[in-house]
């Protein structure tokens, strides 16, 4: 084993894995917190939906689309001043989280919107007929009914975040991506690259498994 991976320092790998998990956990948490209400707002203000606010919808949709069309690498660099202002550094695990959230939240918001649109209109109507307010419709009917779809969206988002964390290694974000670039790419230590990629594959598999389990658990159809 050690002969095959001569350049691999296992404590470095372990440290980088921990960093990646921290970045992933932190950014996923804030992505969900920001993206969920944004997705609900997109859905509600959309054409022929409960609030039907064409102007508001167009503004929110535009912001979401702009953020989604900027390549993440560019977003990372552009956001350096903002990140420094917000968390005091643009480096390391902490510095990676703001750009990760801003890159992933609009993506997740769209997935939430799509999941909400999948909810049968008849259910919204029945809830309305019971005298529910818009708030009650959202929390009592829409979100519970769309829960499997939203969880599937969260899974996709988490996996997207894994590849984003790898990219944030480019600007010194730390974690497995950082390791892969600094040792594997810049110093031609292919074995380090292989190990980091393997760890990333395991991570993605795990996320998908957990996500699928959750979706199945909450699907009652």
């Amino acid at each position: 084993m050690n002969e095959l991976f001569v350049n691999v320092d296992w404590s470095d790998i372990w440290q980088a894995t921990q960093d990646t998990l921290l970045m992933l956990g932190g950014s996923l948490l804030f992505t969900l917190i920001l993206g969920l209400p944004l997705g609900v707002l997109l859905f509600l203000t959309g054409p022929r939906q409960l609030l039907d606010q064409p102007a508001a919808y167009r503004v929110i949709a535009l912001i979401v689309n702009v953020l989604r069309s900027i390549p993440f690498v560019i977003l990372l660099i552009v956001l350096i001043p903002f990140t420094t202002w917000l968390v005091g550094t643009s480096l390391g695990v902490l510095g990676a989280i703001p750009p990760l959230v801003i890159g992933a939240a609009p993506f997740f918001a769209r997935l939430v919107e799509t999941a909400l649109r999948e909810v049968d209109r008849g259910i919204i109507e029945a809830t309305q007929a019971m005298g529910a307010s818009t708030r009650q419709i959202v929390f009592g009917a829409l979100l519970p009914e769309a829960r499997p779809g939203i969880l599937a969206g969260a899974t996709i988002t988490a996996i997207t975040l894994v590849s984003y964390t790898a990219m944030s290694g480019l600007i010194g974000g730390g974690g497995l991506g950082d390791l892969a670039i600094r040792y594997g790419y810049q110093r031609f230590q292919t074995d380090v690259m292989v190990v980091t990629v393997l760890v990333l594959i395991v991570l993605v598999q795990l996320l998908q498994m957990i996500g699928d389990k959750l979706v199945r658990h909450f699907s009652r159809r």
């Binding site: 109507e125 029945a126 809830t127 019971m130 005298g131 529910a132």
Partner: protein, 335 residues
């Protein structure tokens, strides 16, 4: 109790106004089962959705208990809706909630205390006969069971009015029968006003007290179910009745050509259905009759019979008078 006064509704589609209701005047008395029948696109759903203002009229007024409900603000509207239950063709149950949770849902929305919800839900589950299914999810139920959940849910907040939009259209005949029976029972038990939308005359014949026939956004005929069913005036109504009775008019008329004598249709209603009128009249007036077609059935709780006869010999005019005197309705189809 529910009154429509010159209600118009049009939908904006691609900037153009598409009319759906064209001046509806309608009165629905408290405690009745009121049927609204019409073909697809006639405006039935649109009409019934005006009673809980899921649709707002373009013009006209809707009164419930004498109050113009279109004047209510958002909060007042929500409160009003708690007093009006609704059930749907595709049930519209929350798939993420169990049977018990679905029935509890409107109570939770209304802020009912948990202990009270629990008690009320158990009551309702027992009333609709779903005791064994309380913890199941809708996906695990049959159509009939789902509609029972829908009915229990609609009754949870103790409404005065129940709206049914094609509530049995997705069910097989036997299940339809049991759901209709349940509706008739709760109508009596709670003196509930029920508005039933359907495209099947049979649904209205079984449970309706009054009926309105809707055609292209207009009420073309309205009255007690027995009157409308036995003596339909408007062509749309006649078509519905014929559908319900499986009668092909052309076939029937073709068959008449080979029959001698006068052809009449007798309608018996209520007690007279079981009186030996035919034999008596035949003996007294010397007419001979043969039965060309006929049926004996019930309209809600009233038995009725309708016979098409040919009369030959004797004194047919006297026979017609005797039939009328016995309380039957006589229509001469061929003199």
């Amino acid at each position: 109790m529910i009154e429509f006064i010159d209600v118009h509704k049009s939908f904006k589609v691609d900037g153009r106004d598409i009319p759906a209701l064209n001046g509806i005047d309608l009165k629905i008395e408290a405690g009745q089962i009121f049927g609204i029948i019409g073909h697809s696109g006639a405006g039935k759903s649109t009409l019934v959705r005006h009673i809980n203002l899921l649709e707002k009229p373009t013009r006209g007024r809707i009164l419930i208990g004498g109050e113009d409900i279109t004047a209510r603000d958002a909060a007042g509207l929500r409160e009003m809706r708690r007093g009006i239950g609704m059930i749907f063709q595709h049930f519209n149950l929350l798939s993420s909630k169990t049977v018990a949770e679905n029935i509890a849902f409107p109570l939770r929305l209304a802020g009912t205390p948990t202990a009270k919800i629990h008690q009320r839900v158990n009551e309702l589950i027992a009333r609709v006969g779903l005791e064994e299914h309380a913890r199941k999810y809708p996906a695990q139920l049959s159509g009939g069971q789902k509609q029972r959940v829908g009915i229990a849910r609609a009754l949870a907040t103790g409404p005065r009015i129940l709206l049914c939009d094609e509530a049995t259209s997705a069910l097989d005949p036997q299940t339809t029968q049991s759901v209709l029976q349940l509706l008739a029972e709760i109508n009596r038990e709670f003196n509930l006003t029920i508005v039933v939308i359907t495209h099947e005359m049979d649904v209205i014949r079984r449970i309706g007290d009054r009926v309105a026939v809707l055609d292209a956004g207009r009420v073309v005929e309205t009255g007690p179910v027995a009157d409308v069913f036995l003596h339909p005036q408007h062509q749309t109504t006649q078509r519905f009745v014929r559908e319900a009775e499986n009668v092909d008019e052309q076939e029937e008329h073709a068959a008449f050509e080979h029959v001698p004598g006068r052809i009449i249709r007798l309608t018996f209603r209520g007690e007279s259905t079981y009186q030996p009128v035919l034999g008596q009249v035949a003996r007294e007036t010397g007419v001979d009759f043969s039965i060309l077609s006929g049926r004996i059935d019930r309209i809600k709780d009233t038995p009725y019979g309708q016979l098409t006869l040919s009369l030959t010999d004797g004194q047919p005019d006297a026979a017609l008078q005797r039939f009328a005197a016995a309380g039957l309705t006589v229509e001469v189809l061929r003199a």
